[in-house]
């Protein structure tokens, strides 16, 4: 079943929309959640929350690209869950993509006088990414959007882990410079 047919089921308030979504994208969403949380039970919970969120938002929203739409929701829900887990002082020893992104920003607290618009920031980062070749873009997105491990990315692109790490390190540095140039206070 294609994406638009599944979205139509949401519009008809047909509950099989959830099953169809799960069948088609369940594994993909679970992987995103698992890459961020690294806890199976929490990841399953986040994926179920994604289905619920999609059920509540469609309609009126009609996503153009269903896969990125669902993935974004899973990512955000997983991020909130990670925040909750961290606040609960649960152990998080492993280095996550989020920890690496600390290189790009200085402040740990939000500036009171400004609130960064995720949408605008997303557009800015998209522009930044388009300045690189496809391989570098894919490395960056697989790491910081899909939260794939370095090893997974290296295997996927048939390159060494050290090259993957080096590419990411350079891109983070360039992103920081780019964001400053675009007027973001980091």
């Amino acid at each position: 079943m294609n994406d638009q047919a599944i979205i139509d089921l949401y519009f008809k308030r047909d509950e099989s929309a959830i099953t169809k979504t799960s069948d088609k994208y369940g594994a993909y969403l679970w992987k995103i959640a698992m890459n961020i949380l690294r806890v199976k039970q929490d990841s399953e919970e986040c994926v179920n929350d994604t289905y619920l969120s999609a059920w509540n938002k469609i309609p009126p929203t009609r996503p153009k690209n269903f896969l990125p739409y669902l993935g974004r929701m899973t990512r955000n829900i997983s991020m909130d869950k990670l925040d909750y887990n961290t606040a609960s002082k649960r152990d998080r020893k492993k280095q996550t993509p989020l920890d690496e992104l600390q290189d790009c920003v200085v402040s740990k607290q939000a500036m009171p006088e400004e609130e960064v618009s995720s949408k605008e920031l997303g557009e800015c980062i998209s522009q930044f990414l388009r300045e690189f070749d496809k391989e570098k873009r894919v490395i960056f997105i697989r790491r910081y959007w899909y939260s794939d491990s370095i090893k997974t990315i290296a295997t996927m692109l048939n390159i060494s882990e050290s090259k993957t790490k080096m590419t990411l390190s350079r891109m983070r540095k360039k992103l920081q410079e780019y964001l400053v140039k675009e007027g973001y206070r980091i």
Partner: protein, 163 residues
């Protein structure tokens, strides 16, 4: 800006970029799957080659290196042509006769597996033998490792000359 804001900002990048990265995974999975499809045939191919090679080996006629034909398989010594048959024989010269037992000096080139070149030969009574006679001795093949060597004589013939 916080890390969380940056992370969420990255989450809002354009859909086509996300799909591009998704395609990289799909492509890698397809290639791996394709590779695995071939890999599963490797053991099958190996079995086929083994069966084929085994079949070829079994159907080939046994080949003997001509270099080793007419050789004693145990002693790995060349066996004289006259030794092939039901009984073995050698030629030699009677060196001494004592009480019907002759000491025969083996002719050069004969080796019956005894320690030296002399063999005790029990002479038949119906033929008269003298020291210096040339004889052909037929024996069973058993040789005792004594000196002179001891054998089980089957027949003794006088000969005019050494072959």
């Amino acid at each position: 800006m916080t890390v969380k804001e940056l992370f969420k900002g990255i989450g809002e990048i354009d859909d086509d970029l996300i799909m591009e990265a998704m395609e990289a995974e799909t492509k890698a999975t397809t290639e791996k799957s394709s590779k695995n499809n071939w890999n599963k045939y490797i053991p099958l191919a190996a079995c086929f080659v083994l069966i084929f090679a085994g079949g070829m080996y079994l159907t080939m006629p046994p080949q003997t290196d001509p270099q080793y034909e007419n050789h004693d398989p145990i002693m790995d010594q060349p066996v004289p042509e006259h030794d092939i048959g039901q009984q073995l024989s050698f030629t030699g010269k009677i060196e001494n006769i004592d009480n019907g037992i002759a000491v025969v000096l083996l002719h050069e080139g004969y080796d019956i597996g005894s320690p030296g070149d002399q063999v005790n030969v029990s002479l038949p009574k119906d033929i008269e033998f003298s020291v210096g006679d040339l004889v052909r001795v037929y024996y069973t093949g058993d040789v005792m490792e004594s000196y002179p060597g001891e054998i089980n004589v089957l027949r003794v013939e006088k000969i005019e000359q050494i072959d």
